[in-house]
Each structure stands twice: as structure tokens, then as C-alpha cells.
């Protein structure tokens, strides 16, 4: 068990900086999720912690050990790759037991432990199969088994669920979380999927262009996004952003769109409203028109066109009866859930 600290870590390939000045602490036993669009430096950060990429600047510590220049094998970590990287020439049992060959554990003892882990992961009946004879979900569990057998100080996951189908992804996500809670091992998990990040994490680190955009517990990152990037990246469907002036609790845009948002007056502001907090009501003199209705079962995502803005709203099935493409609607937000950002820098304005 150990915490992990990145201090001032940077990584450049030639003249391109992939990660710059990363300061981050992973709490002991917690699950920290690095999330961001592709190319934001999240995987590079993980690989630097694994020792697979050299650090250009700064230090990384695991517990009180400086591991910046150590080989991966000296770091006491385990990693699950996106493609699982199972050893094709070894059986399930040998794959799981393989990390113990590096330590001085006797072979019979190693295989016994591998069998117990395989059993707990529901792989008991396929111990002697080769990876190519397993389904994606089974391969994924073998990779997890191989990661936990050595009882490492830190777990690293590099988009481990992205090769699974949707149903399996949700199941495995739950299993993974349960396992991490049970073992209480410090975990760094990288994903580009904001939903995965929300459900799994004790703490979310949102990255953008090699820098940390926001760090915090998932509900805080969702409730109080630090800027427009985080605001639109986290949450699905993504947050509506509208530039305009607020007076008397009503937002007006140059194109004539009006939305009740509440709050103090402002000359020019970017207002952010999550689709769940934006309600629409048919009205003959409405400033927006329904463009598209996507049914999700009990709810629907409604896209409305208002001037140059295209906004989305989540509507319950009860109100859906009158909402059809082409209908004029009036927009209204729940004032307490409205976010305000600086229109130039995109930074969140304090309430």
C-alpha cells in the first residue's frame, strides 16, 4: 500500500510536449481516474508511472520511494493494457502465474495461487486454454488475474474496458470496482470515457493538452466544472453553452433567443446549462424550434434550433406528447443549476 506523487512531471518527445508540469497525488488505496480526449497525455502519464516512458523533468514517488529512474520491475506495480497483452504461448494458468516467476516463489506454489485467483474470477474451467481460445471478457479477466497475483503497491489500468461490448463493459466495470475496494490497492485508471470515469473514481483528474484541467471528486467535477472544457467534456449529452447578456434573470442572445436562467445581471457571459436542467415547453411565440427527438426509452434527447445555437434538452416521456420536430418551444432552466463562465477565458465565474 502506498500513495503516488507526481511532482512537476513533464514529458517531451523531441520538441513536442505531451505532458507538462503535472502535479498529482494519488491517495493511498483510492481509485484515481485520468480522463480526457485522445492525445491529452493521460496514457503517457500512466506509462511514466509504470516506467515504460522516461520522465523528461520532475519526479515520481511511490510511497516514500523515488522511482523516477527505476526500471518497471523495481517499481512494484501491475498493469492491465488496453489489448490485455496476454502471453499467447502460455495457458490461462501460466499467464496468471507468470509474474511470480520473476520473484522467488516456488512453481507449485505459484500455480496453486494462480488456480485460486482463476477460480475467483470464474475462469476455473478454462485453466489450460490458450488466450486465443478465450472470449474478450475472459481475456480481460485473465489480465486482471495476472495483475492481482503479485499483490502490487499500485495498479495501473490503461483503458481496460474499451475492447469490450457495452453490456460486458458495464458488468466488468462493476466487478473491477468491487475488486479494487476489496483489495484496497492504490489505482490509477486511464480512460477517455467520461461515464466510466464518473462511476469508477474516488477522484477524477480531467486532462487537456498535457495539463490538468480539474481534479476533484466526481460529483464536484460534475457540479462545479472549472471551465467550459471540463463542463462540456463531463456529462452526456454534453452541456449547452450560450453566450449572451443576462438581465432580470433572463438570458438574451444577439440572435433573439431567450432563456430564463436567474441570477445577477451580466453584460456578457457564457452560460452553461446541462440538458437535464433545460426544460422546453411548446409555445406559439417560442424562440426555438424542435429539430430532432431521440428516444432513449423513458426519456428523450430533444435537439432544438434557436438562431445560430443548437441546444439539447432531456425530456421525460410525460411531456413528450406535444414535442414533435418543427414545434415552436420556449426554453427554461433550473436557475440553481446554471453555470456561468468567463466568455473569453472559459473559466468558471464564482457565484
Amino acid at each position: 500500500m502506498a500513495s503516488v506523487t507526481f511532482s512537476g512531471v513533464s514529458k517531451s518527445f523531441g520538441s513536442t510536449t505531451v505532458v507538462s508540469d503535472l502535479d498529482l497525488e494519488l491517495a493511498d488505496g483510492a481509485m484515481t481516474v485520468l480522463v480526457g480526449p485522445s492525445g491529452c497525455g493521460k496514457t503517457t502519464s500512466l506509462r511514466m508511472l509504470a516506467g515504460l516512458e522516461q520522465v523528461s523533468e520532475g519526479t515520481i514517488r511511490i510511497g516514500d520511494r523515488d522511482v523516477t529512474d527505476l526500471e518497471p520491475k523495481e517499481r512494484d506495480i501491475a498493469m492491465v493494457f488496453q489489448n490485455y497483452a496476454l502471453y499467447p504461448h502460455l495457458s490461462v494458468r501460466e499467464n496468471i502465474a507468470f509474474p511470480l516467476r520473476a520473484s522467488k516463489v516456488a512453481r507449485s506454489e505459484a500455480l496453486k495461487r494462480a488456480d485460486a485467483i482463476a477460480e475467483s474470477l470464474g475462469l476455473g474451467s478454462m485453466l489450460s486454454r490458450k488466450p486465443k481460445d478465450l472470449s474478450g471478457g475472459q481475456q480481460q479477466r485473465v489480465a486482471i488475474g495476472r495483475a492481482i497475483i503479485r499483490e502490487p503497491a499500485v495498479f495501473l489500468f490503461d483503458e481496460p474496458l474499451s475492447n469490450l461490448d457495452t453490456k460486458l463493459r458495464v458488468e466488468t466495470r462493476t466487478e473491477l470496482l468491487r475488486m479494487q475496494r476489496r483489495l484496497g490497492v492504490t489505482t490509477l485508471y486511464v480512460t477517455h470515457d467520461q461515464e466510466e470515469a464518473m462511476t469508477l473514481s474516488d477522484r477524477i483528474v480531467v486532462m487537456r493538452d498535457g495539463r490538468v484541467a480539474q481534479v476533484g471528486p466526481p460529483e464536484e467535477v460534475y457540479r462545479r466544472p472549472a471551465d467550459t472544457f471540463v463542463a462540456t467534456f463531463m456529462g452526456s449529452p454534453k452541456m449547452n453553452l450560450i453566450d449572451g447578456a443576462v438581465s432580470g434573470g433572463e438570458l438574451r442572445t444577439p440572435s433573439g433567443l431567450r432563456i430564463t436562467v436567474g441570477g445577477p445581471d451580466a453584460a456578457l457571459v457564457t452560460v452553461g446549462i446541462r440538458p437535464d436542467d433545460l426544460s422546453i415547453r411548446p409555445a406559439a411565440d417560442g424562440t426555438a424550434k424542435v429539430e430532432l427527438v431521440e428516444l432513449l426509452g423513458p426519456r428523450a434527447i430533444v435537439t432544438v434550433q434557436a438562431g445560430e445555437h443548437r441546444l439539447t434538452s432531456v425530456v421525460g416521456s410525460a411531456e413528450l406528447a406535444d414535442i414533435r420536430p418543427g414545434v415552436s418551444v420556449e426554453l427554461q432552466s433550473r436557475p440553481r443549476e446554471v453555470h456561468r463562465f468567463d466568455p473569453k477565458s472559459g473559466v468558471r465565474l464564482s457565484e
Binding site: 518497471p72 499467447p88 504461448h89 520473484s103
Partner: protein
């Protein structure tokens, strides 16, 4: 089943012609090895009472000792080539060692005629008092087997995902252990094919053996050429010796032909 079309008939005809074309010299040599010197002047004589005389002469000439030396040269050449070549091919495949010219440059050595290379080998062997031993022959064979084996293996190493090696390193192994325990087993099929390929090259070489070890340490092709004596060519005995030489090659080619194509195209597609 549908009736064979014109294309099928042409294909079968061409393949049959090719088969006869390839088989003809082998059949000719096989027949010759059972003929007496008089019968030898009638190449198309198919029905005759075979003689064992040629085979007896060959067996008494120490042909198996020469074959043994050839095998030893082949095995040592291939072993050294595989150890050095696998590591070299790995470095070239994963780290682009030597830049993009390495692959091509390595094969450029094949363009140099053996006649140019043999004199330095002979001079060195002489200086080391190793003429007419197998040592210079092995080094000479390495000069063409090692580059080919290395080149052949590059494509196989490129096909191994780098995450496998990274996984092994994270799992607690050193780079060398990761290479030996994880990367190398993935290319075993390529190594097997390269071994047979390299062995065949070494087994068939006459030129270096003839000049570097013509006497007591003669390898099989040299021993075969020795049937061309000052009293004329002993075609019957030579034919029997040739049969002994080609059997291992034919058996080996049968096993590797598919891998050979895979290895060559595996390397070729890249450039």
C-alpha cells in the same frame, strides 16, 4: 462437382510440365547411380539390371564422414546465426537500429561475389594455421547465412506487439528476461524456418569449402567434386554421392516452403 474449365486444364498442364522439369535431373541422377559406365552413355535407358558398384565405391570413399562434417558446419553456422541474428533482428525491428538503411545494407553483402571474399578468408586461415580445417569454412558460411537469417527474422519480430514486452517488464522481468521469456517464444516458427533455410544454404555451398578446406576436412560438396578425378569423371559414383546430398535438402524444403514464403513476404511488404 463442376467440370474442369479451360483454365483448370491449362493450370494442370503447366504444373505437370514444371513437375517433370524439376524432377527430371533428380530422376536422371538417381538412375545414373545404378548404371555401369557403359550404360551411362545411354541416358534414356530406363530398363537395365542395376549395379551396386557405384554405391559401394561411394560408401567406401568416406562420403558419410564428409556429410558429417557438412552437417557440423551447418549446425554450428546456424546456431551462431540464430543467437546473433535473433538479437540483431529484434533490435532492428523494435529500435530501428542503424536507421532505415540497415535492412537493405545487410542484404547488400550478398551482392559481393564469393570470389572476392574468399581470398581474405584464405589469408586469415593461413595466418592462423587453420587451412583445411572447418573453422574458416564456418566463418565463411556465416558471412552469407547470418545476414539472411537476420533479415528473415526482422518481419517476425515486427509482428510481436510491443505491449507484450512491456507487460513482461511491468510484471517484474528485466529487459533480457522479457526478450527471452516472452518475445522470443512468439517468433519460434520463424526461428525454425530460418534454421532450416540457413542450414540448406550452408549445406549446398561448394565454393568456400573447396578453397578453404580441400583436403582432409572436405565437406560434402567438395567430396562430391572429388569424383571428378584426373582419370575422368566417375559419373556413377558421383551420382550416388549427389543423391546422399540432396535428400536432406528435399526433406527440409518440404517442411519450410510455406514459412519461407511467409518470412520473405513478411520482410518484403515493409519496403
Amino acid at each position: 462437382m463442376k467440370r474442369p474449365g479451360w483454365l483448370d486444364i491449362i493450370r494442370i498442364a503447366v504444373l505437370t510440365a514444371a513437375f517433370v522439369f524439376v524432377l527430371f535431373p533428380i530422376a536422371w541422377v538417381a538412375l545414373a547411380s545404378f548404371k555401369t559406365p557403359t550404360q551411362m552413355s545411354e541416358p534414356f535407358l530406363l530398363m537395365f539390371s542395376p549395379t551396386g558398384e557405384n554405391w559401394r565405391a561411394v560408401l567406401e570413399s568416406g562420403i558419410f564422414a564428409a556429410a558429417g562434417r557438412s552437417a557440423l558446419v551447418g549446425v554450428l553456422t546456424v546456431s551462431i546465426s540464430l543467437v546473433v541474428g535473433s538479437m540483431g533482428a529484434y533490435a532492428i525491428a523494435k529500435y530501428r537500429a542503424g536507421g532505415s538503411l540497415t535492412r537493405f545494407g545487410m542484404l547488400a553483402a550478398q551482392v559481393v561475389p564469393p570470389a572476392v571474399m574468399v581470398f581474405p578468408f584464405l589469408t586469415m586461415a593461413h595466418a592462423l594455421r587453420m587451412t583445411d580445417t572447418l573453422v574458416p569454412v564456418i566463418f565463411a558460411h556465416l558471412s552469407f547465412v547470418l545476414p539472411l537469417v537476420t533479415w528473415f527474422l526482422i518481419g517476425f519480430f515486427e509482428a510481436v506487439p510491443s505491449s507484450l514486452e512491456e507487460q513482461a517488464r511491468v510484471d517484474g522481468f528485466s529487459r533480457w528476461q522479457a526478450f527471452r521469456l516472452v518475445v522470443l517464444p512468439q517468433v519460434y516458427p520463424g526461428i525454425g524456418a530460418a534454421a532450416i533455410f540457413g542450414f540448406t544454404l550452408s549445406w549446398n555451398d561448394l565454393f568456400y569449402g573447396l578453397i578453404l578446406a580441400p583436403g582432409n576436412a572436405a565437406i560434402l560438396p567438395v567430396a562430391i567434386s572429388n569424383f571428378n578425378t584426373f582419370r575422368g569423371v566417375q559419373i556413377g559414383a558421383m551420382s550416388a554421392a549427389i543423391m546422399i546430398a540432396i535428400v536432406p535438402v528435399v526433406v527440409a524444403s518440404f517442411f519450410i516452403q510455406r514459412r519461407l514464403v511467409q518470412g520473405i513476404s513478411g520482410g518484403a511488404v515493409k519496403y
